[in-house]
């Protein structure tokens, strides 16, 4: 196929460059008054899209019992081997027979692939939208069962960042 080469033919006034220069100046001037893309971070935060894979959470039944039955499917599926679970017979009469006494995730090892979420037969573990957790030590970034349940409680009532941007006070479990 033949390629059509477009050649630029400057008109008389174009040869002075002044119209083009003025045009350029007004483009940059107009930009000053347009909306800025900057997100002023601690005051307002970026809202990640649906399906974002951030900090993990553990879900509860309606009566408050943990959904996890300590089957270790997630730990088996985990390619980074960051989940460690200790199983034990459940203390309650009705419901599941086992529950985790220890459920820890090493957040520095985790690669946020979401395999644990897919592997879980009980819908007990999820990845949430939370992305801003950081700290100064490795130990404090190993999140335990209570922490994971707390993340679950916080994230049940809607996207934490949308709530934060609306001015609601949202306390993140790991943020200092």
């Amino acid at each position: 196929m033949a390629t059509v080469l477009r050649t630029y033919e400057p008109r008389f006034w174009d040869r002075f460059y002044i119209p083009a220069l003025l045009q350029g100046l007004f483009i940059t001037l107009g930009r000053i008054f347009k909306r800025k893309d900057t997100i002023q971070y601690p005051e307002s935060k970026h809202v990640p899209p649906e399906g974002y894979r951030g900090l993990h959470r553990l879900n509860r039944h309606e009566d408050g019992r943990i959904k996890c039955v300590a089957c270790e499917m997630c730990a088996t599926a985990c390619p980074a081997q960051c989940i460690s679970i200790e199983s034990s017979p459940a203390p309650w009469e009705e419901g599941e027979e086992r529950y985790p006494v220890k459920f820890e995730i090493d957040l520095l090892r985790c690669i946020y692939c979401g395999f644990c979420e897919i592997a879980c037969p009980k819908d007990a573990i999820d990845l949430t939208e939370i992305y801003d957790f950081s700290d100064y030590t490795r130990d404090s970034l190993v999140i335990d069962e209570d922490g994971l349940l707390k993340v679950g409680d916080i994230t049940q009532t809607g996207n934490v960042y949308q709530r934060h941007n609306r001015g609601e006070k949202v306390e993140l479990p790991l943020a200092r």
Binding site: G24, T28, L29, I32, Q40
Partner: protein, 340 residues
């Protein structure tokens, strides 16, 4: 010179010096914030209200940085170069009037540090001295990039000074004097030189950008090619001195432009000299706002036009601006001869 005049002069010197320093601080911030706005960003806005203390914080940082002097520099010249750049940069503003004369207790105080009868030549002479600072800085650093930057700046400034001089000649011809007061009074009596000689104003504007080494003519710095140009090997306060003199030059060039082509302290349709003290205030306001516009123009142009290539720069200087300057002088001369 009696005590009153002496005191008035000292006060004027202090006011002008402090104003330039404060303007440098504001300009440093404005540069970054306006740059941000033009790129859909906000720019630094955290240090103090609207980020006003950002430049102060930067200055303090410069003071506390380690002052590195590389091994193979030519020490005396290396140390002298920032000073040679900075002193003329701060001296040039002295001859620029920033308002109508003020009447205090029977004395007339000119709002200008020094009303010398060769005001225009004084500025041209001092800006030429300032070039030595850049060239010496580039040469003494003992490194190839500063050297290239210094060479470029000397060639560039010589080429554009010529065009600048030719643009000024047209103004001198119509106003008939080398002092700023004559030029401004003439403009106030008739109309701004910009309306009479737009060509000269354009040539001067372009030359002004080149003389202050600002984009699109910042080939002396050209960080993509030359690391940082002539100030690559400078650190800490010596770097700050180059930085400050660049901004001081920008301020002076804006004031120069305003005085030559935009009526200086003249506010259109108002006779400042008849209004007493309010006239003084109005005239200073007019001058400040006009200079403010040109300071903004510097930043505005910086984010609009790409940098010239070296041969393009030389072609523009010698083949476009120089002939245009000559055409302007010819046209003004013809006009004056026909009217006489």
């Amino acid at each position: 010179m009696d005590t009153f005049d002496l005191l008035a002069t000292i006060i004027k010197v202090v006011i002008v010096f402090v104003t330039i320093l404060v303007t440098i601080i504001i300009l440093g911030l404005a540069e970054r914030r306006v740059s941000g706005f033009m790129q859909y960003r906000l720019g630094p806005n955290r240090v103090g209200p609207w980020g006003l203390l950002q430049t102060v914080a930067d200055g303090i940082k410069f003071l506390f940085k380690e002052d590195i002097i590389p091994d193979n520099v030519n020490r005396p010249i290396y140390l002298l170069a920032p000073v040679i750049t900075m002193i003329p940069a701060f001296m040039t503003f002295a001859v620029i009037p920033f308002g109508v004369p003020l009447e205090i207790a029977g004395h007339t105080v000119k709002l200008q540090v020094a009303d010398i009868n060769i005001g225009l030549l004084y500025i041209l002479a001092l800006t030429s001295v300032g070039v030595y600072g850049l060239v010496l800085a580039g040469w003494s650093a003992g490194s190839k990039y500063p050297l290239l930057g210094g060479l470029r700046s000397s060639a560039q400034l010589i080429s554009y000074e010529l065009a600048m001089g030719l643009a000024i000649v047209g103004v001198i011809m119509v106003s008939g004097g080398l002092t700023f007061n004559e030029i401004i009074t003439h403009q106030q009596a008739t109309s701004w030189n910009f309306w009479k000689q737009p060509l000269a104003a354009l040539v001067f504007l372009v030359a002004m950008f080149a003389e202050t080494n600002r984009l699109p003519f910042d080939l002396t710095e050209a960080e993509q090619e030359l690391v940082g140009g002539y100030h690559t090997e400078y650190s800490s306060f010596k770097f700050l001195m180059f930085y400050m003199s660049e901004y001081a030059n920008v301020i002076t060039a804006s004031g120069f432009m305003v005085c030559l082509f935009f009526g200086g302290w003249d506010m259109p349709f108002i006779d400042e000299k008849a209004l007493g003290h309010w006239g003084v205030v109005l005239s200073v306001l007019a001058f400040v706002s006009k200079v403010g516009f040109f300071l903004f123009l510097y930043i505005w142009v910086r984010w609009t036009f790409p940098r010239f290539r070296y041969d393009q720069l030389m072609r523009l200087g010698w083949k476009v601006l120089l002939p245009l300057g000559l055409v302007n002088i010819f046209a003004v001369g013809l006009w004056m001869a026909l009217r006489a």
